[in-house]
Symmetry: C2
Subunit: 415 residues, 2 copies
């Protein structure tokens, strides 16, 4: 039975229904960890809903879901959209789920055979890193980025690896290679997601056209000075690990501000001080630097500025500093052509928008390495995400869902 | 029975004996908290030892001990020396005890009636703030600085105030006013103490002639920014409480370095960061500033520079900062004349020395407000103090004890 008219109100009802797939007893936001009972139930509910609405639904060996609306020529690569349903503990209702419900809404606006190409809604499994300590498992599996040994070592709080959990949920880890999608599977992929920042809100814009996804380059910085009496040690004899750290933090901040034209950011979010006592000069400080951007050369400039700051701080403060790179991921540029399509659609429909980078990672990051891909961001109230207070106005969601629909129409009819 | 010859070896034995008054089972250093059984026992041992060696010993209403060697004219103000026996938890053997044993050694080098003036060894009670949260109780009581209401509110880990503990130990808090010493009680007071810093060691000197005791002026700084996603928040939108804090820390450090000619120091030793997560911009930071010096105007310059740094950091980082003064004690200048006597004695005896400030507080700080006073510092290995590794070479102690003896001789014979 294909429903003739799937309305915005239907989409809103679906969104509210998904909220009910929550950990029993959870009072703060949504807790739907990957492969938990509630996560499985939410996925099963979507399988049934999409089937009832006439889509051809399949699951792969780790439970990724593909729901297809046939076009006139199913031999052509399809146009894809989608996102994920799992959440962080006590997260919000929008992160991930919004891309699923708007994608379903968009597909429901077309009849089978109405467009040239098939449309396909993808629900990626285990996007959040909360359960296994690494993220975007579904999209990595689809794009052949399985690291079996490493993944086997990362266990959840119950000591189970992704593979064990996947098998226990009734899937088939031994067939994981079969999940890899063929070349030319998609002609384009568009993920709709909340911004998780406050740039759109601050600028009063409704849509973000995401043209790149930043990747974090992370360093641990260990500063070793000497813990001495704060009263008895003259300034010239100090080996103050905190003053050295402060100099580095300021330099990194300055370096990242200079890279603003390229969108690079740098943050020191975590810092531990020893002995952390009011009348003792800090003898040891450890802090972490998180550099993100889309331009590799810009990221490199900040990283080399960090090294220079470390050398200077060592000399200026008579301390020794160890700089250790703990991760360095490749930033991902999204498809300029697709971004232009999205931008043109915004202009045609008088939708206020900006082209912007995503600071957070998404499944599209993996898809983009094999298929033309882009993302649509909706504003996040106060930039709050991964939190019960996560919120996007429904009026903004309507605009985004319509933009997604119109973009799928244009891409679905492309030769 | 007056022992005819009290040697350096006797002093060393006394020092070693005092080490045995330790908390039962303590494996790390010395734990002799004020008014604990071990502290009481150590004081009682000194009362007996000093009595056996012919000194006239009295205790006041809080257990301060005074041991007097008569001179030719006991009507003249006496020459005093002394220090304390209580320690911090897991402290060292030298802090305090060294001033008691060297003072006793020095008095033992003279016969009754040998000098013009009486010599008096004082053992101050409860110098360390470890038990009651405030320090130098003995010398405060002697100099009329009792703050009964405030002291009654500060309780130890068992919930007892100083007054309760003092009474339980068999003393008489209701007679505390009687502890206040008369005017002209001392013509001079010299305390020998370990440096608790490493200036003497670094400069290869044996003696510090202490001409001032710095006092801490302390501030709590609360920086309120906004905790945002480290990837999704561009530099221009950040309200980074840690970057703001780093700027202030660097400015204070610079300001204190400029005050080096006046010996002023400034330290940020303690800092708390919220939420302290690698991928979240710090939303709130609290840190503490400890400024110490002997020149009030120099301390004021650093404090006002702190205020300027706070204003600048607020503007530069779009954060709000609350600056709260949590204490402001008066620095104490010691007696120039007594310092010159000590310096001349050093020169006469080819002892390497420097005039210096004490960054840490001492009982002499209180005595100096009523009597001419100065201090002798011995080197601390590595500057380590309040720690089991606290150490001063016995050869340095011998030099200091001899200097103390010769200084008492000179001051004791002064008209």
């Amino acid at each position: 039975m294909i429903q003739q008219c799937y309305t915005m109100h239907d989409m809103e009802t679906l969104f509210e229904t998904l909220k009910t797939f929550n950990k029993p007893g959870e009072m703060k936001g949504i807790t739907r960890l990957a492969y938990s009972k509630e996560d499985e139930a939410a996925h099963q509910f979507m399988v049934e809903t999409m089937g009832e609405h006439g889509l051809f639904v399949r699951k792969d060996a780790i439970g990724n879901i593909f729901a297809r609306l046939p076009g006139q020529n199913s031999q052509l690569p399809a146009v894809g959209t989608g996102s994920h349903l799992d959440t962080v503990p006590q997260g919000g209702a929008y992160d991930g789920a919004l891309g699923v419900v708007t994608g379903f809404y968009a597909l429901m606006q077309f009849k089978a055979g109405e467009l040239l190409r098939d449309l396909e809604l993808v629900i990626f499994r285990a996007e959040e890193s909360s359960r296994f300590g690494f993220s975007c498992i579904g999209s990595k599996v689809m794009t052949g980025k399985v690291k079996a040994d490493q993944w086997a070592e990362n266990v959840d709080d119950e000591g189970q690896s992704f593979f064990q959990v996947n098998d226990d949920a009734g899937y088939a880890s031994e067939k994981i290679a079969s999940c890899c999608l063929p070349d030319h599977y998609f002609s384009a992929f568009i993920e709709l997601h909340i911004e998780q920042g406050k740039r759109l809100e601050s600028d009063g814009l409704t849509i973000g056209v995401v043209n790149g996804i930043a990747a974090p380059t992370r360093f641990a910085v260990l500063v070793r000075g000497h813990a001495d009496h704060s009263g008895a040690t003259p300034m010239y004899q100090r080996q103050d690990a905190l003053v050295a750290s402060a100099m580095i933090i300021e330099d990194i901040n300055h370096a990242a501000c200079r890279e603003s034209p390229w969108g690079t950011v740098a943050t020191v979010g975590k810092m531990e001080i020893q002995p952390n006592s009011m009348n003792v000069i800090p003898g040891e400080v450890t802090f972490y630097v998180d550099i993100r951007g889309i331009e590799k050369s810009s990221i490199s400039r900040v990283a080399s500025r960090l090294q220079e700051a470390v050398h200077k701080a060592e000399k200026d403060n008579d301390v020794t500093i160890t700089l250790r790179e703990i991760s360095s991921e490749e930033p991902v540029k999204l498809d300029d052509g697709l971004c232009d399509v999205l931008a043109q659609q915004c202009e045609k429909n008088d939708i206020s928008y900006m082209k912007m980078l995503s600071g957070a990672g998404h499944d599209t990051m993996n898809l983009a390495q094999r298929y033309p891909a882009a993302m649509i961001f909706t504003p996040s109230k106060g930039g709050i995400s991964h939190h019960p207070d996560e919120f996007t106005h429904f009026s903004d969601i309507e605009v985004a869902a319509t933009l997604l629909k119109e973009t799928l129409r244009e891409l679905g009819n492309r030769q």
